[in-house]
């Protein structure tokens, strides 16, 4: 294995699960999430020497995953709602109370338009700043704020009693 492959393998091991989880929250489909993460990591491999010179390998991979998600979503039929992939989430709603909240959250999340969903996932799961989220999505900080605000508003309306502190988040999203 070349030194490039060895270094990449180490990065792959460290980053794969996290990228998959981000992708899963974006698309709601575990198989598609694995594909998105794998494709993002392949792009990291191709760009490896330049990335290691400049740093930011993980940010690059995450951006590739998000871009692939947004691109593939644009190409999908209007009839193919993101929520259609969430059968498992709906089923989980019938499970024990411990998973009820999560099923509700995932269901509400995948009802969001893809840009809004990406903003929520990047800001509140990946814990990115508005600036870094804008960089990952290739849009302005103002766009991130407005998408996030609308997304949280929707989540609050959808989640009802689960959304106690979303009001605070909405206020924060404007800052």
């Amino acid at each position: 294995m070349s030194s490039r492959d060895e270094a990449f393998a180490e990065f792959y091991s460290a980053a794969h699960a996290q990228l998959c989880r981000t992708a899963y929250l974006l698309c709601g489909d575990p198989h598609r999430a694995a594909d998105l993460a794998q494709d993002g990591l392949i792009k990291v491999y191709v760009a490896w020497p330049r990335l290691t010179r400049q740093g930011g390998e993980f940010a690059y991979a995450r951006k590739a995953v998000v871009s692939a998600f947004l691109d593939s979503h644009r190409k999908r039929s209007n009839h193919e709602r993101p929520g259609d992939t969430s059968g498992s989430a709906e089923a989980e709603a019938d499970h024990a109370d411990a998973v009820a909240d999560r099923a509700t959250v995932l269901g509400a999340l995948i009802e969001l338009p893809q840009q809004q969903r990406a903003c929520v996932v990047l800001r509140y799961y990946d814990d990115l700043s508005v600036r870094d989220t804008a960089a990952a999505l290739g849009c302005t900080e103002g766009t991130v704020k407005s998408h996030t605000s609308r997304a949280l508003e929707h989540l609050r309306n959808t989640l009802g009693e689960h959304a106690d502190n979303l009001t605070a988040l909405i206020e924060r999203s404007h800052r």
Binding site: F8, R21, Q38, I42, K43, Y45, L109, V120, Y125
Partner: protein, 403 residues
């Protein structure tokens, strides 16, 4: 942690995907191979076949579809330039070799095609048996830097001038007669011409070929002037873009620049940027020769004001079209940009025979190159070495890939 963060984390935590490192390595190596194959030239047919793949890949690849952009606010002096080292900073694709082959005893005006091949102009000189030049013919030659194989392009009349775009499938050149563009199809190895009917009485100058495959021409008839763009696909599609200018050309992102005649007081032209929505923004007054690189083949929107020696220190300045400072290079020498790509700008010292500097826009690093930089395409750089005294010079070219 907020409740939303908590819920998202709990939701994602149960998803424990299995990775496929070997699959990623195999796919990554394949993509690298495709890039290198096209980058290194290969055959025209292979390149043409692969270009679709590259475009599709680039759609999702942040490094190509969305260049990192220049590092802003860098301030350097020429003393900061580090010699570019083979192995560390670049890899040699084709060592320095003379262009002589099959009677073409020189190779000059070399450029790089989009797939990294070298287009040079070779001169074939034949002599009378008793001495003296019988005939001197100039020929364009396509060289694969990986194999060194050369293939002359067929001769074409009227004479072919400077390159407008050297694509993977077609090469576009000005021609020395009329308002026409010579198009060379690399798959059929044949020439054709595109010509437009423009306003009579105007003296037309081909300016550049825009990214949308429209050629830009500037014409003058006494005090009147017109700036038009014309389609390469439909010769009847001619659009007047501006009038009363002293020049202009398109830059990326749906914008184009208009230069208005020089202000009589300052002696420098006014410059305006027009955007696709019809608005116009005038740039601050800039000093010096700011158009050199924009008239070249780069697609990167940079301006190059070069303050001349007016009592203050000399400085070489690169700005973006938005006015952000990219590089300020203090120097005792007169510098000017030579050529560039989205990642690199070659900077030529006052003595054109001296080796050039290469500035890495993304990394903010300045290199001293081993020779003159003749062309840049992506990460590929064409270096020229000139030997001998003026008037009796020979030239060698070398092709390198910056790491």
């Amino acid at each position: 942690m907020t409740r939303l963060q908590d819920l998202l984390s709990r939701e994602a935590a149960d998803f424990s995907p299995r990775g496929d490192l070997d699959g990623a390595l195999r796919a990554g190596r394949r993509r690298l191979l495709v890039r290198r194959t096209v980058g290194a030239g290969g055959t025209a047919a292979l390149a043409a076949l692969l270009v679709g793949t590259i475009v599709l890949t680039a759609t999702n690849a942040p490094d190509r579809a969305e260049p990192a952009g220049p590092k802003l606010g860098v301030k350097l002096s020429l003393d900061d330039a580090a010699p570019a080292q083979e192995g560390t900073h670049y890899t040699t694709v084709r060592p320095a070799t003379s262009g002589a082959i099959d009677g073409y005893n020189t190779e000059h005006a070399a450029m790089l095609t989009d797939d990294g091949q070298v287009i040079g102009r070779g001169d074939m000189v034949t002599h009378h048996p008793k001495g003296g030049i019988k005939e001197q013919r100039s020929q364009l030659i396509l060289t694969d830097p990986t194999t060194g194989s050369k293939r002359p392009l067929p001769e074409y009349s009227p004479l072919v001038g400077r390159p407008l775009r050297l694509g993977v499938d077609k090469l576009y050149f000005t021609q020395y007669e009329g308002t026409r563009v010579a198009v060379f199809d690399r798959s059929t190895w044949t020439w054709s011409t595109v010509e437009w009917n423009l306003a009579n009485g105007f003296e037309w100058e081909l300016v550049t070929l825009g990214a949308d495959n429209r050629i830009w021409l500037w014409g003058r008839d006494g005090p009147a002037s017109q700036l038009v763009s014309a389609s390469l696909e439909d010769p009847t599609d001619v659009r007047q873009e501006a009038s009363g200018t002293s020049g202009g050309y398109p830059v990326p992102a749906g914008t184009w620049i208009v230069i208005t005649p020089a202000d009589s007081e300052s002696g420098t032209p006014a410059v305006a940027i027009n955007t696709a929505d019809g608005t116009q923004r005038t740039l601050p007054q800039l000093k010096g020769d700011l158009w050199t690189l924009l008239r070249g083949r780069t697609t990167f929107p940079l301006l190059f004001p070069i303050p001349r020696d007016d009592g203050s220190d000399l400085a070489f300045q690169i700005d973006t079209l938005d006015g952000a400072d990219v590089l300020t290079l203090s120097t005792d020498d007169y510098l000017q940009p030579n050529t560039g790509s989205e990642r690199f700008v070659a900077i030529r010292p006052n003595d054109a025979m001296e080796p050039a500097y290469l500035y890495d826009l993304e990394a903010g690093k300045l290199f001293t190159m081993p020779g003159r930089v003749a062309a840049i395409q992506g990460d590929r750089v064409l270096i020229e070495y000139v030997h001998g005294p003026a008037g009796d010079q020979t030239k060698e070219i070398e092709v390198i890939d910056m790491n």
